[in-house]
């Protein structure tokens, strides 16, 4: 299976592991992640103002690239995923926005055909659940994560707004827990798993970010977890920066480990 892959800026810098292990795991699962020739940063957060057009252009360009190859657009970073999926949704549901966006695109050199939301946007987790299938992953597990108590941390970006993201139950999700089970680990369910880590407020009000992050890592620890896994570099940063007692790793790293392809890819 070949899919268009949008890594995002952080995966090329501070979150190289998230990217590297995603490639390794996908290779093992028979999925080829192909980047567009060029891509730009998604902007990190979706802008909710209806008149924000230009800031969403990078997302639309990536969507068009996938559309033209007739492939789904896959992301691993929660933030990129959220921004691109919401942009795609806005194109589909807000005619005025779609019109203005296409006007912008028409001005570009080698202007693409107008885009109306045709591309299917998938997070790698969704690709695994819906396209590859958990049963297929289970067959490929080489080193089950036996005995590991793992707390899945969703944060806000993967699940909300649920009407648009359509990934899982926003209040009682199970996609990562199901994956942990498939990989042989023991998921730890704790109530803070869909709470916000504080996100970008870390720059504005470090205390507030600390409070948020600690409430999450403390809740995971109190429920007996050995480690926390996430798909978001900012969540990971906030949790670690604010002194999480538990290790925080990317879900792709665990996936690669269980599939037996981690060591080959350690240290690039």
């Amino acid at each position: 299976m070949k899919v268009t892959y949008f890594p995002g800026c952080t995966l090329r810098t501070k979150a190289k592991e998230l990217d590297r292990y995603a490639h390794a795991a996908c290779n093992a699962l028979g999925v080829e992640l192909v980047e567009p020739d060029t891509w730009q940063c998604c902007g990190g957060v979706f802008s909710y103002a209806k008149d924000e057009i230009a800031s969403k252009l990078p997302s639309v360009r990536a969507l068009i690239d996938a559309r033209d190859k007739n492939e789904p657009l896959v992301t691993v970073c929660s933030a990129c995923h959220n921004v691109i999926k919401q942009t795609n949704h806005q194109i589909k549901t807000d005619a005025d926005f779609a019109f203005r966006m296409n006007n912008y695109l028409a001005q570009e050199k080698d202007a693409p055909a107008p885009y109306n939301g045709e591309t299917k946007v998938l997070h790698l987790l969704e690709l695994i659940r819906d396209e590859i299938g958990f049963d297929k992953v289970a067959e490929k597990v080489q080193k089950p994560l036996t005995g590991k108590k793992i707390a899945a941390y969703y944060g806000c970006l993967l699940l909300r707004p649920s009407k648009t993201m359509q990934m899982d139950d926003p209040e009682n999700p199970k996609i990562i827990e199901d994956l942990i089970r498939v990989l042989g680990g023991e998921p730890v369910i704790y109530p803070a798993r869909n709470e916000c880590c504080g996100g970008y407020i870390a720059l504005e009000d470090a205390e507030s970010a600390k409070k948020r992050s600690n409430s999450i890592s403390d809740s995971a620890a109190a429920h007996g977890a050995d480690m926390i896994i996430t798909a978001c570099p900012l969540c990971r940063y906030n949790l670690i920066k604010n002194g999480s007692k538990l290790p925080v790793v990317y879900f792709t790293e665990l996936l690669a480990e269980a599939l037996g392809v981690k060591e080959d890819n350690d240290g690039e």
């Binding site: 139950d169 209040e171 009682n172 109530p191 803070a192």
Partner: protein, 665 residues
Amino acid sequence: MQRIGVFVCHCGTNIAGTVDVVAVAEALKNEPGVVHSAEYQYMCSQAGQDLIKAAIKEHNLSGIVVCSCSPRMHEATFRKTAAAAGLNPYMVEIANIREQCSWIHKDMASGTEKAIILGKAAIAKVNLNTPLTPGESPVTKRALVIGGGIAGIQTALDIADAGFPVDIVETKPTIGGKMAQLDKTFPTLDCAACILTPKMVDVAQNEKIRIFSYSEVVDVRGFVGNFDVTIKKRARYVKEDICTGCGLCTEKCPQKKVPNEFNLGMDNRRAIYIPFAQAVPKVATIDADYCTMLKTGKCGVCAKVCTAGAIDYEAKDEFIEEKYGAVVVATGFNPISMDKFDEFAYNQSKDVITSLEFERLTNAAGPTAGKLLRPSDGEHPHTIVFVQCVGSRCEACAEKGKEYCSKICCMYTAKHAMLTRDKYPDTDVYVFYIDVRTPGKAFDEFYRRAVEEYGVHYIKGMVGKVSPEGNKLKVQASDLIAGKQLHIDADLVVLAAAIEPDKSARGLATMLTASMDTNDFFTEAHPKLRPVESPTAGVFLSGTCQGPKDIPETVSQAGAAASKVIGLLCKDKLTGNPCVAQSDEMMCNGCSSCERVCPYGAITYSDKEFRMPDRTTKIRRVASVNPAVCQGCGACTVACPSGAMDLNGFKNNQIMAEVDAICKM
């Protein structure tokens, strides 16, 4: 050619104030067919009616036009007047020159002009009217009540009391419904079982009432007065007439791990069971999904212990066909699923429960024998949080809950809170509310007592999230009066889940061709003036299938539905409405369009033999209308592509004549 009389009413100044009635009478005098034209101050008065009768006789009129108020107001009056003078009542047409003319126009000239146009249109129609005679149909003097909760029970008892036989069809093994699961009832706090079970016994002992329990209606045909209904009696593997209800089998059955639906799954029952001690009929039922004998052929313990020999593993579903004159729907409600509201952690903690579960936890016959204990660890909860409006009053497009107010939650929550504080004064009880709605007799007083005498903490605000941490439920909520975000460590959280119609209602509505609203509540014929009748003749509504209701309201509606049924069953013959659709078989092309659009199921197709012009015969599939079922809505006449379908009293040529008369101006 008709001989038409025109009668223009002043309605005091209601019409005459804006319409020059004399000019109208004068202008209409020369219309085709008109032989007499008059005006009078109050045409509906005795004197006015006498004037019409005299004119009919004097001028030998074959049709009349009354220019007056809306036909909704006095069409029936003037039809009777005409009939009294020997004229067919369907030769009367009303031109509405009040609601649709004088009341909406300010100036005399335009009002008068419009009144003349409306009069001309009515005259054009009468010219094409033909006398119509309503048909008659017999009435089967037996009623069917679908649903055996308090609504169905009350309706059945009242109908039986008037001397008519009634059958109750209940899907569960016992009648009693939701009320049988309740502990106490607001606002007087009588025990639900104490007031319900005597009624259940009355039903069982009433010679006029038959109970089909563990049964469902699978087919309905026919029409008002003449319904043909098929009832499926599911195999319960116990002979009802032999079982004594001793309950020995339910104690000996080795399959002990069946979730007990009567206690909402909070404990287990056996595979053979009697739902509760006062069940009616008090007969055991084998749950085929769990019975080892039925699944593997190995066990048979119940048959061995049954001294009466009532067990029958070979039993099959039975189908019973019966005729009824009237059908009452009393299918009731269920709390909605809490799956889409897991911010309250219902699926994440056993100690987050619904209000109906709370009823079972406080009921002496419930899983804890009436002691309020946490489902997770059996400990006594000290801090209890009640959350109101869970899934009620949700925006429609939010697709999570229901847009309506479920109506009963404010009161039962006040009851729960009060009873908890009464029985366990050491508990802290919080109720989070958006509004407290208590419009009922002695309702607000009841709620105030919960606050003032029992010290229940009512907090204006909503709970945002419930987090199970350790053995506590961390409740994060807002207190809008104090302007604070509250954090409460609760032991038990109780959700007032919205209620919705029972899922069986939708299929039943289709069978009955009874209409429903977007929430699957049955629609009443008129929201104020005909609240217990469905728009489908002969189908009546009782209880929460029509909308959220508490017990007193349900019982009153049940009685009202019964009185309507009795009124129907008292008649020997039903007079139909002659303004019904009629198919011209020669023109019908057998396409079924009319059958598909008919909301009442009045149209059927059959193969008929026709003699062709060349003396051969040909079999063609053609539509026919059952005039007793047709309500004269006219949908079929619009759908029919070949023009075969027409509506008596409103035939296409009559309507077109009216339009022509208006357009000629």
